[in-house]
Amino acid sequence: MGLKQYLLKRLLHSVFVMFFVVTVVFAAVRSIPGDPARLMLGGDVDTETLQALRTELGLNQPLYIQYLRWLRRLLSGDLGESIRTGEPVLGSLVQVAGPTVSIAALGMVIALVVAIPTGILSSVRRYEVEDYLSTAVAFFGISMPAFWIGIVLILLIGVNVEAIPTFGYTPLGEGVWPWFKSILLPAFAVGFPYGGILMRMMRSSMLEVLNEDYMRTARAKGLSSNLVLFKHGLQNALIPVVTLAGIFLAVVLGGVVAVEIVFGIRGLGRLLIGSINRRDFPVIQGTVLVIAFVFVLANIVIDLLYTMINPRIKYGGGE
């Protein structure tokens, strides 16, 4: 199978996955106990108002018609409106995307920039001080919940260093430096556990590669050991790390949502928790869908990266 066919197959698979996600979310929201119309209107309402709203929402129609109508709305990018504020769900999501994406992205950058070189260093200097030290730090990273790192940072740094804010978010539009300062601590809290995972994976992956026959051969042929490392080893060592790095995106997501709450940032975390507390189902539903969509997209991107760095890939997906 060629590259094009392989990618096409992956894309089709993703479309199928997304369709499945949409169906599961529809079923889940439909199984929430209670009548959505009654929930929207609150306690005491007369039957007429209730019936009018039920008709307006299409709740009187058979389930499969409701499902098809919902699918059609989704395809046109309509995620519905909040039953509390009446605002479009998509609009609210776009608003919170700024802080959430900023924190997640900076967190992942911090993790990658620190973890990949440290993991390599650790494998090359196995059982030496550098290895023990970085392994210890990584172990602490993977053993703390991100939001707790945030709390500790607020207590340690926020209280003592006034230049770094510990509350709220400054949009990028108000200047790069204020923006960066406002997301630095949250991003670190999100990035530390992720970096710990990455560093451990990089280290063991690199160790495996260093033990491969072709690496020994290259060294025996007299190639200087640094050149060997970077030309042969790194590319191969990165392959499993790239695949696994995607799986651990769930760690980043859980981290960001909780860390935002700690730092009082109006992002995805607040939107989600708020909508659950207010039982605002369209918002819950829309947010869940968009996050799942982002995960499916990330999966495709990782697949592309994987094909790019792995020259030996077998597109058939066989063993």
Partner: protein, 300 residues
């Protein structure tokens, strides 16, 4: 470990685990300081959780003291009190029970389903394998946070939501590991022997295949218990986990959030305990990995 010793079936077994693997683990613990630390922390944690009713000085629900007392050895509540005047030490000990239970429960849920899928998938191959593994692929689009949100939206808060939401995410880890192991041992001689003497598929799977996949599954199990406890903490902190009255380390930490500046201990002490325990479980898991010679990443 050589292949021949790995598939040697003449060794005794304890709970399906070959006794020589247990000896290797004991060796690792004797040799390695990190492994010793892991074993000590895990043992202490389990003891504290199991014997919480006997060991805890007070009733974790009773509002016995003045609220927000700072920790001090001189007072009756050595680790301080929460905003309701409840003894933090007792709540932490009872919280350890829930945190451990949820962590174990989640991974059990994920491992039972995942191992079954992996066994069937690897054993039968073909379209069964294709169908099962593609289904497992789909789970990728549902990170535990989303599952927890949907479950809370439908059922309200509760321990089982956390177990299912967190465990669900691990099905795919166990399915892949088990499947890989099954594929690698399918062609072994004793497998052919088992089939030729006319054992049923179920007998071959559970009596011959499963015991030989146990080592990597145990390693993964341990590592995931650590991760499940972190996930539980996050969900409880967000109010998506257990009911706030139930003490777990995550919910205790969450309650401390509103008092960070007045009463740092309510969030710092449970957080430290989570860190130490998860660190211990991770070290324990690493020692198991060393002892059983299981690879951390798959380079294929």
């Amino acid at each position: 470990m050589t292949v021949s010793s790995r598939f040697d079936t003449t060794n005794g077994r304890i709970f399906g685990l070959r006794t020589d693997l247990i000896e290797q683990f004991a060796d690792t613990v004797r040799r390695d300081l990190k492994a010793k630390i892991g074993v000590v922390i895990v043992t202490l944690f389990i003891l504290a959780a199991v014997f919480a009713p006997e060991l805890a000085p007070y009733d974790p629900m009773a509002q016995d003291f003045a609220p927000l007392q700072a920790p001090a050895l001189s007072t009756e509540a050595p680790l301080g009190t929460d905003s309701f005047g409840r003894d933090l030490l007792s709540r932490l000990m009872f919280g350890a029970r829930v945190s451990l239970g949820v962590g174990l429960g989640a991974v059990l849920f994920g491992s039972i389903l995942g191992v079954l899928i992996g066994l069937v998938s690897g054993f039968y191959g073909g379209w069964v394998d294709d169908f099962l593994m593609r289904s497992v692929d789909v789970m990728w689009a549902f990170p535990w946070l989303l599952i927890a949100i949907m479950l809370v939206a439908i059922f309200g808060q509760g321990v089982w939501n956390v177990v299912v939401a967190v465990g669900f995410a691990y099905i795919d880890d166990f399915a892949r590991i088990t499947r890989g192991e099954v594929l690698s041992i399918r062609e072994e001689e004793y497998m052919l022997a088992a089939e030729s003497v006319g054992l049923s598929d179920a007998e071959v799977i559970f009596e011959e295949v499963l015991p030989n996949t146990v080592a990597p599954i145990i390693v993964q199990f341990t590592v995931l218990v650590a991760r499940a406890m972190l996930a539980e903490a996050t969900l409880s902190f967000l109010g998506l986990g257990v009911k706030p009255s139930t003490p777990t380390w995550g919910s205790l930490l969450g309650q401390g959030r509103d008092f960070i500046t007045q009463a740092w201990w309510i969030s710092i002490i449970p957080g430290l305990l989570i860190m130490i325990t998860v660190l211990g479980i991770n070290l324990f898991g690493d020692a198991l990995r060393d002892a059983f010679d299981v690879r951390e990443v798959d380079t294929e």
